[in-house]
């Protein structure tokens, strides 16, 4: 099998395409940020391990394979890192054999080598992943400036008994090649961006690319040492390497192996994504803690909104079925995959629970939220759903998903505080909460058209006004009142508060407005019997939303129920 073909079989030895006498053992893991893939290569006179991974058991398994190879013939061992993030190498710090300088020589880009030798907690991502890192000896510093500039071939005899020579890659200014023993030529290409020391390595027709294709992803972009400018340049260089021909298999740092055509398409996509990341904040441990807290608050609301949306669809299907429209009822099930929604939300909840118990790091939770949100975005048909259930539910769900991704990226979720007429905003909101989206006239007008009638019928069932069977009173108010708020976020906030009061049993809701010279307070009171405290995370979410909307929210128990008070600033002329 794979001899020059585009396939390699994981976890087995096989010929390395393009290098006579060399064999490769790919160790491919599911994608996570705990440990990378590893690639072990053997020739008659050398053993090369690319990225030993972050787990001790993975490194131990690789050490056993290396020992088996050395039993067949003693050979020097080299460890070559695509970069020095701990998930690519820290496993070897637990396995003594890798520390024997007489056996193993570690080769890393100069910037990474220096980081390893000083035990840099930041550039290695050890700090973010709460892992202890001991300083480490590096036998060969690649891409040392003076050597690269000299353009000469340098021959070296190493402690492990091996001989290597390094030289520039002809015609590629960002390349340095290492001749390892007699038959193994590793061409290294400096591709910074994901980290300052990132390299891609071409051996035969395989290109090992490290994490460059993940470098624009949320939770990865912005880590210490990340550079947008360098990444865009490196992705351009990668495109060039892939388009030159000769590369048939791409071995990434995480996940399955990739064919060249797919890798080219992915590179273009990542580059497009990277171009949008201007001004991204550095992803420090503090920010991962902040992102994890936001993820928990945000997902609590996402959970509620998606459960309500799915419930509404079940309800529509139920009523249609009762009306003898079983076929139409069944079709509503295609608008949202509610089983998948449940599974995703449950997966996040379990993860969040483990985080609270200290078994998961904040970065893991933040990444899990990002992964779940990415999948949730795929499981519902927005425009069709909005024809049936309250579009505000869908829009708010979409905004929450987008806000989390934006926040995790290191940006502030968008807000636009502008001069707004509060009274017209309230009138529009209350109209939406009290008047059904389809009038009786709409129903009558559709009577002759089966499809139109079905659509109207579904909307009538699916989108009932929130205040339909709740008493509502709005107090005295001026004709116009200019305030400084984000119109969309403020409308979302009020909708959440109305939903909270209606959902928890208020049969009467009052909205009063108090104005002073500089501020305006909206008092939303509901006659529900529950206490003044909703769940902590819900409260934290609502307070945060209020702040972003331009207000300040308080919640207090009043004799007949609970009252939300939102303080906002009046706009001056």
């Amino acid at each position: 099998m794979p001899d020059g073909s585009a396939e390699l079989v994981p976890a087995s030895w096989q010929p390395l395409p393009g290098v006579t006498g060399a064999e490769i053992y790919p160790y491919v893991r599911k994608i996570d940020n705990i440990s990378s893939n590893s690639y072990l290569i053997r020739t008659p006179d050398a053993i090369l391990l690319i990225d030993p991974g972050g787990l001790a058991e993975q490194a131990a398994m690789l050490a056993r394979l290396i020992a088996e190879c050395r039993e067949m013939g003693k050979r020097p061992v080299y460890v070559l890192l695509t970069h020095v993030h701990i998930d690519h190498f820290v496993g070897i710090q637990h396995i003594p054999v890798f520390a024997y300088k007489d056996t193993v020589v570690v080769m890393v880009h100069e910037a990474g080598a220096r980081a390893l030798e000083r035990g840099d907690q930041s550039l290695t991502a050890a700090e973010m992943l709460s892992t202890n890192l001991s300083p480490m000896n590096v036998g060969v510093h690649l891409f040392q400036e003076e050597r690269v500039l000299s353009g000469r071939t340098v021959h070296r005899a190493l402690n492990n008994g091996g001989r290597i020579s390094t030289a520039p890659v002809p015609g590629i200014p960002y390349g340095e090649q290492i001749q390892i023993g007699t038959s193994l030529l590793a061409e290294c290409f400096h591709t910074p961006g994901h980290s300052p020391d990132s390299i891609c390595i071409r051996i035969g027709s395989i290109l090992f690319i490290g994490d460059i294709l993940f470098a624009a992803s949320p939770g990865v972009a912005g880590i210490p040492g990340w550079s947008q400018e360098a990444l865009i340049q490196s992705l351009g260089n990668l495109e060039q390497l892939l388009s030159e021909g000769g590369v048939t298999i791409i071995c990434p740092g995480h996940g399955r192996l990739i064919e060249t055509g797919d890798a080219r398409a992915m590179t273009a996509t990542v580059k497009k994504e990277a171009l949008t990341l201007n001004g991204i904040a550095t992803l420090t441990r503090d920010r991962t803690v902040e992102a994890a807290a936001f993820a928990e608050d945000c997902m609590e609301q996402v959970n509620e909104l998606f459960t309500i949306m799915a419930g509404r669809l079940h309800y529509v299907a139920y009523v249609l079925d009762e009306l003898g429209e079983a076929g139409v009822a069944e079709n509503t099930g295609t608008l949202m995959n509610s089983d998948t929604v449940d599974e995703l939300l449950e997966a996040f909840r379990s993860f969040s629970e483990e985080h609270r118990q200290g078994r998961r790091l904040s970065i893991h939770l933040a990444l899990k939220a990002s992964q779940v949100i990415g999948k949730l975005e795929q499981v519902f048909r927005r425009s069709d759903l909005a024809q049936i259930i309250d579009p505000s539910l869908i829009l708010r769900a979409e905004r929450l998903l987008a806000d989390y991704t934006t926040m995790f990226r290191g940006y502030s979720p968008p807000r636009e505080i502008t001069r707004t007429d509060l009274i017209s905003l309230l009138n529009a909101l209350i109209e939406g909460l009290t008047i059904p989206p389809c009038s009786d006239d709409d129903v009558l007008a559709s009577a002759d058209d089966d499809a139109a009638f079905t659509a109207i019928l579904m909307a009538r069932i699916g989108a009932r006004p929130l205040l339909e069977d709740v008493g509502f009173r709005i107090g005295e108010r001026p004709e116009h009142l200019a305030v400084l708020i984000d119109r969309i976020l403020f409308t979302d906030l009020l909708t959440y508060l109305f939903e909270d009061l209606v959902g928890t049993g208020s049969d009467m809701i009052c909205l009063d407005i108090e104005t002073s010279e500089n501020t305006t307070a909206l008092l939303l009171t509901g006659t529900c019997s529950r206490g003044d405290s909703c769940a902590v995370r819900v409260k934290r979410f609502l307070y945060g939303l209020s702040e972003r909307a331009g207000g300040s929210l308080d919640c207090e128990k009043v004799p007949d129920g609970i009252m939300y008070r939102i303080q906002i600033t009046r706009a001056t002329h």
């Binding site: 459960t307 079940h314 309800y315 449950e346 009932r464 529900c528």
Partner: protein
Amino acid sequence: MDITSASKDSATVLAISGRIDTATAPELEQNINREIDRGHRKILLNFTGVSYISSGGLRVLLATAKKLKAPEDRFGICGLTPEVQKILKLAGFTSIFLIYPSEGEALAGW
């Protein structure tokens, strides 16, 4: 999730505690169906101990409402926590089956 079943007056009361989610909703459905198969057609779910319901759980409630719609049948839920009450209300479910503050108030009317 824990479910305990008890006969009270002419009704069967299933007291549920914990989360009704993807993993536990099928178990709830099986318990309800077992009671219906035994000819118990007045079923009250006591949700006092239910902290969460997923869309899978909502589907079980609707499936039960469908099975118990003869004039002499009764299907209701009591003791909703604010979180669960909000989901049922906003999903539109409170118009399908009967919601009671407590077991006593439910059974008094049955």
